[in-house]
Amino acid sequence: MAFSIRLERRLNAPMAMRIAVPVAAVAGGLLAGGVVMALGGHDPIDAYGSIWEGSLGSSDGFQSTLIKACPLVLTGLAVATALRVGLWNIGGEGQLIVGATAATGVGLYAASLPGPLLLPAMILSGCAAGAVWAAIAAVPRALIGLNEIIVTLFMNYIAILLMDHLIFGPWGDPKAFGFAYSRPLPDAAVLPLLPGTYVHVGIVIALLVAVTAWWLMERTPWGFSVRVSGGNPRTAEYLGLRISRRMIIVLALSGAIAGLAGAIELTGVTNRLQDGISVNYGYTGVLIAFLARGRLLGVVLAAFLFATLVVGSYALQTTGVAQPIATIIQALIIVFLLAGDAALAFRLRITRTRPLLEPAQAGAG
């Protein structure tokens, strides 16, 4: 008896499966991450216990998770926003770094600004720098169609080197004993805390940005025209929409959001420009946007999940499990998500192949 197995495209996936896939992907990613840890000689159950204890399972951990979620919500939003116009912004890392760099510049050279003006000036300059950095990729994409993935990516490396140049050189702190730190910023350049916590207000700003971005893209005519330009360029052209202009504006907006993340990390967490101001937040934002399936509000949820893993993995380090385990689990979650989506889009069809001589049955199939 012979069988043939083939993939067949499903016309529409059942709703329950569409919700089940991301949940199962997270479970699968955690499980596979456990296998990686077990292979390294660590007890995965202990490890996940430490991750829980270090993140959501304790008040300190929960506050750290909120702090870590802030840049991740923003970098995730940056990617998801660009996806609305059909572009891949893989440059969140660099846009975040130039955002922090520009904010540092304002903090160091305009320190005489009155207190209430200094902080907004720093944050706005961070957004502007991120927007410019993204626009460098957006303009050749819009005008000559040059792949924006590669350009945004290269701009990451250039941003890191620019920051290194400044903190090892002109902005370097002579008292930092050769560490890669800029001079510390004035006290007026520190973001206030939420009352009763040590969590800076950045997370509130990030949530407001998420809601605003969602409203702009999903609830305004302009947002609709952007989505048409990204989803169906031919229709957009037929409607007379200027796609290239929308590409540049949206990618600059996306860069501004990532730049904002940099300015907030600077003023809320590090208080000086330093190497490692971004711990791969830009790249993690790409995975977050994937997990949220590009949905702006879904990004918030996915960013919290990934922040939990990152903060938890810091606690893990004390037990000897290297911190990159967080990145591994995050990426594995996406691999499972993609596999799950494929399973949704297709179904395996196992058919018995009839022997040639057997008479065909009426109405078969």
Partner: protein, 300 residues
């Protein structure tokens, strides 16, 4: 004079891994699969190649393991994109991040150590004695000497290749899926080799994220080289030269910050890409027709 000769020699050494990675990507792309996971595959090759070389005191074993590591990660890409028809861009980016994380995880504790074995340069008799250029061109390791032959081999293999129109190829009996699988996995092997070249031969250390975007330069090189192996090889050597110039300028004490000098390869890549693309975009010279499109028999 010796400044330029040194830069040329370093450029050839630095261009070699770029060439291997770019040729690997070219094979996958000519078969219709874009692999944006090259950077992650290079990092996996770098860390595995380094650790195995250190453990066995044998660089050959190290390189074999590195090729296997790159191919293993690429086979995930192949199964997902060719088999399950997952979006190639999303999958490639995810694998780059996975490779970066996994290599950092595996490589913890190896930073700052030496591989303990390497690949020594072989001076080719007579030719290496040619004044000036002899030592620049004919005093390298086996990977450098092999790369033009690899490029030529790929050129011969792909010459008049038919798998750029998967539908037509399938109809005429070419095993489209098998070829796509093999091309992606082979490409990953090349990326793994390129990574090990950085950690075992060039820097002789392992450091987290040590390839610093060279996998992406390799992807840009394929566009720059209009999907032609010979042009891609020449492009890789040119980029290696620019990369090497940075170290040479540092060593002669040019009064420019080392960080600004290190931007050169990236800025150069961007400028060249903009020019190449401006020239190519209307004609789409060399771009494989089915690039990025999953093949489905039913959807023909």
């Amino acid at each position: 004079m010796s400044f330029w000769l040194n830069s040329l020699s370093v450029g050839i050494v630095l261009g070699t891994p770029l060439a291997y990675a770019a040729l690997g990507e070219l094979i996958a792309e000519r078969a219709g699969v874009m692999n944006l996971g090259v950077e992650g595959m290079m990092l996996m090759g770098a860390v595995i190649g380094f650790i195995v070389t250190l453990g066995t005191h044998n660089a050959v074993a190290g390189f074999a393991a590195a090729i296997a590591a790159g191919a293993a990660l690429a086979s995930v890409h192949a199964v997902m994109t060719v088999g399950l028809r997952v979006n190639q861009i999303v999958m490639g980016l995810t694998l780059t991040i996975l490779g970066a994380g996994l290599s950092a995880y595996i490589g913890t504790g190896y930073a700052g150590r030496r591989p303990g074995a390497g690949v020594s340069a072989i001076a080719i008799p007579v030719l290496s004695q040619i004044p000036l250029l002899g030592s620049v061109l004919f005093n390298h390791d086996v990977f450098v000497y092999a790369v033009p032959f690899v490029a030529l081999g790929i050129w011969l293999l792909l010459y008049r290749s038919r798998f750029e129109q998967p539908g037509a190829a399938d109809a005429s009996g070419v095993p489209v899926f098998l070829i796509r699988y093999l091309a992606v996995i082979a490409g990953g092997g090349f990326a793994g080799l390129a990574g090990a070249y950085f950690s075992v031969v060039y820097t002789q250390t392992w450091a987290e994220g040590m390839t610093s975007g060279r996998g992406w330069i390799a992807i840009a090189l394929v566009i720059f080289g209009t999907w032609d192996p010979i042009v891609v090889l020449l492009g890789a050597l040119l980029f290696g030269f620019v990369d090497g110039l940075n170290f040479q300028l540092q060593s002669v004490g040019v009064p420019v910050s080392t960080h600004l000098l290190a931007m050169m390869p990236y800025v150069f890549t961007l400028i060249v890409l903009v020019f190449t693309w401006t020239r190519l975009r209307h004609r789409r010279v060399g771009m494989p027709e089915a690039l990025g499109v999953p093949y489905e028999r039913e959807a023909r």
